[in-house]
Amino acid sequence: MDNLNNLMQGFADVLAPMNLLLALIGVVIGTAVGVLPGIGPAMTVALLLPVTYGMEPVQAFIMFAGIFYGGMYGGSTTSILLNTPGESSSVVTAIEGNKMAKAGRAAQALATAAIGSFVAGTIGTLLLVLVTPVVVDFAVSLGAPDYFALMLLSFIAVTSVLGSSRIRGLISLLLGLTIGLVGIDAVSGQQRLTLGIPQLADGIDVVVVAVGIFAVGEALWVAAHLRRRPAEVIPVGRPWMGQKDWKRSWKPWLRGTAFGFPFGALPAGGAEIPTFLSYATEKRLTKHPEEFGKGAIEGVAGPEAANNASAAGTLVPMLAIGLPTNATAAVMLAAFQSYGIQPGPLLFEREASLVWVLIASLFIGNLLLLLLNLPLAPAWAKLLQIPRPYLYAGILFFASMGAYAVNAQPLDLFLLLVLGILGFAMRRFGLPVLPLIVGVILGPRAELQGRRSLQLSGGELSGLVGGPVSYAVYTTIALVLVWPLVRKFAVRPLRERSA
């Protein structure tokens, strides 16, 4: 009941006219930026972070909640109308969504995505309210060794579960850990990898890393391969759905939500697996199998709901334990840190009002998104036709502005460029970006927890293994690492034999 009261207080704060306006602005610019081709949700949040620098944390987070869901929805609009998803999580939406759009059913595809996102986002946020306090109660009892183990699990998960090549994921993670190492060591006060540059003593700001890798890297990469003929945008009217579409959509929405939330909430989750699972399920359960591959509405409704529910789910480990499981959550975590707030079990004690305002704004933002997107979809579609030179010039412009605004030092602009070139190279060589961001954010904290564990044991390595949680986590890590070998040597030969 206590949480319910807190949540009500959160709603009361958000519903103040000024805050409501901020939520609205957040949703609008979040969607507008998220719709832009080449900009996924994580990049949207990173690019828009500086907008909130001058604000109080409460106001900033109200706006952030809007940007978060707005960016997510903007991404699906792009994938439906252009067939080229900004993030791997909306790949599945693009499969059927773009086919529907090509068949003249863009309005229905956008409608089922918008309403599905709303349904999944609302249920997901509700589950977030219910589950997070439980996770917090559990997380309060965790000690340094448990945290260290959980962070190791995060590292292993982003490098080997998500993404296609483990070695490439590992490279990305190590690059991120190296970037995270730069600066003064928090425990001993010694400078590491600062190259004698005083401005580097505070480390490289996560925002600069995120904007450099996502925005500048993307702009440089696109510049090197710019399609001279712009991609074809499908014209769209106001989204709407007929009775039949509703009938075919509501079950996929709920099933998608059921897939999305748990996967998002797991430390090794993400949105790729649940969206694919949802797609496969809908394909199997549909009464219109002939439409799959040609634009089946179930194939948009399910994965889109799964995507949004998983986004809500990722906020559980992010808020309760301080573990980001996808790029967007990682950037959100950076946003918390830029206000000097450390997500984790203590967050709900120390910053209770802030957290509940954030959660209340998620509900409000989600509703505003639905109200806005149905009438505004044609306007968003126009954004897709911005001439590419202006679009990427604009991205670089805002990226520079944001990176400079972090510390007001030109050095950050050079760092941004170096990181942008790194982002370019990673795109060129097919190295995934997420492990790098997670490495930058969690690396220093993992080191701190690891050293704290060893402090308790007086330097004995046995200190790294504490209570039952760390045993469970290390077992999971072992399973994750061994699984591909098992599959290679046991499952595949078995299957081949039976085939």
Binding site: G54, V91, R168, I171, A393, M401
Partner: protein, 177 residues
């Protein structure tokens, strides 16, 4: 964030190539970085105490060694024909080679902004940045893009620096804006 779907479609449109030799450059970079991290780590005074038995050196050294190991593993992977798929995207056309001229021009415009931002202020350097990058990307409406650039810089300056208190320098226009 390239994906399964993208990868397959990218593979179909791309002309088949032999092993991607440029990946050895990445191995070399990783090996160099690993060495640099180890050298830097060993240069840190080894300070330990009862509250910190590990000290600041251990993690850089471990990380450096891991970088060297991964560089070697990656080299093996490349030698066995492994290669990462370049990322596809809405505006990306992977069927042609890289357009280095555009990239260099972009980097140039970027550096101009970084060098001039303190002296000239965000409004002027930002205008140069937007106009320069738009030019680099193939925009040939010089006047129109200049107008957009000036409008964007002025709007962002007033909205963020003056309205929201974000740090942006006024530079030579201090007192005028």
């Amino acid at each position: 964030m390239s994906t399964h779907v993208d990868e397959r479609s990218a593979e179909r449109t791309r002309p088949p190539r032999g092993g991607d030799r440029a990946q050895y450059g990445v191995c070399a970079f990783l090996a160099l970085l690993g060495t640099a991290v180890i050298v830097d780590g060993l240069g840190i005074p080894h300070i330990t105490s009862s509250t910190d038995p590990v000290g600041p050196r251990a993690v850089p050294v471990i990380l450096g060694v891991l970088l060297l190991v991964v560089a070697a593993l990656y080299a093996v992977d490349v030698a066995r024909g492994g290669r990462g798929e370049p990322e596809a995207g809405e505006d990306v056309d992977l069927s042609t080679g890289s357009d280095w001229r555009t990239v260099l021009l972009l980097v140039g415009a970027f550096v101009v902004n970084a060098v001039l931002i303190e002296q000239l202020g965000w409004v002027i350097s930002g205008t140069l940045l937007f106009w320069g990058t738009a030019f680099a990307l193939g925009n040939r409406h010089y006047v129109r893009s200049l107008l957009i650039a000036v409008a964007l810089s002025l709007t962002t300056f007033y909205a963020f620096a003056i309205g929201l208190g974000v740090n942006l320098p006024a530079g030579v226009l201090q007192g005028i804006l």
